[in-house]
Every structure is written in structure tokens, then in C-alpha cells.
């Protein structure tokens, strides 16, 4: 009996998309894993509550599943996901009225004293809450440009506006954010 070396097929991301299109659930799960951080994180910054963000992310991925045939390559999925995430979050916010704020349990650990850690956590909590007070367009511009790190042109395309408008929204949003954080800080003291 001879020992044949096992052949392992190396799968590229394009194969994952093709298999997912054919209805392969494992491939679709792989696609979700590739984009879940982008979707859930953006949704969380936009809606402010983890539970709502999870609902939004779920809806986004279900829409992706239905639209799989539309995409020719994986690179087309990322901007589409941002656009749909923003729209789903807008819809959710409208449906649920004012956005609730909840500071999610974080995984980010910063070395230093316990006091420093607490102060940092408080700052993050304040910022996360302040974000939910911004008007939705400004909030989306800030989240995509400042948190997700997309360039202005990409943000403009996702939000269906112009780069000039995005620049203005980011600038106004930052000013407003500063104002809200100061107000929240004062209220807590």
C-alpha cells in the first residue's frame, strides 16, 4: 500500500463568494466572518445599543444573502455593506424612536493603573453616548470617516452625497460631539 500525499485545495476569497452564491452555507458563514466586524461595529456606533446593533447586523447579512448574485467580486461587497448598514440603522432608529445608549462590554484593555483604566472607560462611555445625540447624517459621516477610517470620497459614495458635504458633516459633527461630551460630563459631575 502506497501512501499518497493528501491534496489540499487552496481556496481563494473568490471561491468563497462563488460557493456562497451556489447556496453553500459554510461559504456564506465564511463571508460573514470576513465582514462581521465592519458591520457590527458600524451598527453599534450608529445605533448605540448592542442588542439593536446585532439586529441591524443580522438584517444586513440577510440582505447580503439575498443579493449575493449581484456581486462580481469580493471588493464590491465592502462598500455595499457599509451603505446597507447605514440604511438599516437609520430605519431601526426611526422605528424605535430616540436611540438608547448602552456602553458595551469592551475587549480593549489598556495597561496602567486601575484609576487610569476607569477614567479611560468613562471617556469612552461618554463618547459612545455622545455619538447617539448627533443627527443621523453627521453621526454616519463621523462613524465612517473617523472611526472606520474611510476616505471622504468613499464616505460620500456610501451616504449618497458629495465629498464637500461629508467634510462639512464631519466638521460640524466633531464640534457638536465636543459640545455634547462637555454637557454630559457636567451633568455627571
Amino acid at each position: 500500500m502506497t501512501n499518497c500525499p493528501s491534496i489540499v485545495a487552496v481556496e481563494g476569497p473568490a471561491d468563497v463568494l462563488a460557493r456562497a452564491r451556489r447556496g453553500d452555507e459554510t461559504a456564506f458563514e465564511e463571508l460573514m466572518r470576513m465582514h462581521e466586524r465592519q458591520v457590527l461595529r458600524t451598527a453599534l456606533r450608529l445605533v448605540g445599543r448592542l442588542e439593536d446593533a446585532q439586529d441591524a447586523a443580522q438584517e444586513v447579512f440577510l440582505r447580503l444573502y439575498r443579493k449575493l448574485r449581484v456581486f462580481g467580486s469580493l471588493s464590491e461587497i465592502r462598500p455595499w455593506l457599509y451603505r446597507v448598514t447605514v440604511n438599516v440603522c437609520y430605519d431601526l432608529a426611526r422605528k424605535r424612536g430616540r436611540l438608547a445608549t448602552e456602553f458595551p462590554a469592551g475587549e480593549v484593555l489598556v495597561e496602567g493603573s486601575q484609576e487610569q483604566q476607569i477614567r479611560l472607560d468613562q471617556r469612552r462611555e461618554l463618547l459612545a453616548e455622545a455619538l447617539t445625540y448627533l443627527p443621523e447624517k453627521e453621526r454616519a459621516a463621523i462613524v465612517l470617516r473617523e472611526i472606520e477610517g474611510l476616505d471622504t470620497a468613499e464616505v460620500a459614495e456610501i451616504l449618497g452625497s458629495t465629498p464637500a458635504t461629508v467634510r462639512s458633516q464631519v466638521s460640524t459633527g466633531r464640534a457638536r460631539l465636543r459640545e455634547v461630551v462637555t454637557r454630559l460630563e457636567r451633568r455627571r459631575k
Binding site: 469612552r124 455622545a130 461630551v181
Partner: protein, 128 residues
């Protein structure tokens, strides 16, 4: 406090369990929708089969002749109507008529009928 870029990007990430919950939810929903779709397809296929069967039965029923009431008496057949052929009267030259008659006379035996006083007795004389 100034919300700078670093602080904004440093906002905490959702826990790993949150991503897993989303994945589970999505896959569960996809499977549920698939089941519903398959069930709907089965129902549609069954309905189509029933419709086809009904249509087939109706078509068969229309083709088979239905038994009529029992025959008690037959109507007499209509007499055959024969259109008589139109007689062709050809005018002959009177000079040729006798010759023609003789020529076409059938070869029949000449019968001479002789009557007697008794009406019941008739003498027939056949000449070849």
C-alpha cells in the same frame, strides 16, 4: 475633554460572543426561510399535480361517448332518391331511321300470338 481621532477609534469592540450570536441568528433565519420556501414549493407542486389530474379527468370524460337512451324502434330509412338521367333525344335523319332500327333490332325470336274463340286458349307460335 476633546474627542480626538484616537479616542473615537479606541471605542470598545463588541465581544466575540456578539459576532457569534449574529452569525447564528443569520444562519438560523436562512435555514428557516429555506424550509418555508421548500414547503411552499412542495405545496405548489402538489397543487399543480392535483390541477393536472383534474384537467386530465375532465378531458377524458369529454372524449368517451355517453350512453344514450335505449333504442325502442328504428326509424325507417329514407328511400334512395335517384335522379333519372336526362334522356338525350338525337334527331335522326328520317331516311336513316329504318335502317338504324333494323340494324339495332334485338335478336329476339318472333312470337305469333293467335287467339281462339275460347278466351282461355291462346296459341303462341315462336319462329326462330
Amino acid at each position: 475633554m476633546m474627542p480626538d481621532d484616537f479616542t473615537l477609534r479606541d471605542l470598545p469592540e463588541p465581544l466575540e460572543a456578539s459576532y457569534e450570536a449574529v452569525r447564528r441568528g443569520v444562519l438560523g433565519e436562512i435555514r428557516r426561510r429555506k424550509r418555508v420556501r421548500n414547503a411552499a414549493r412542495m405545496v405548489a407542486a402538489a397543487a399543480a399535480c392535483v390541477l393536472l389530474a383534474v384537467a386530465g379527468l375532465l378531458a377524458l370524460r369529454q372524449r368517451t361517448p355517453t350512453a344514450g337512451p335505449p333504442i325502442l324502434a328504428r326509424a325507417p330509412e329514407a328511400p334512395a332518391f335517384v335522379v333519372p338521367a336526362k334522356a338525350v333525344h338525337k334527331r335522326l335523319n328520317p331516311k336513316h331511321r329504318a335502317i338504324r332500327l333494323l340494324a339495332h333490332a334485338p335478336a329476339q325470336p318472333l312470337v305469333v300470338r293467335m287467339q281462339t274463340d275460347d278466351p282461355n286458349v291462346v296459341i303462341l307460335w315462336m319462329v326462330d
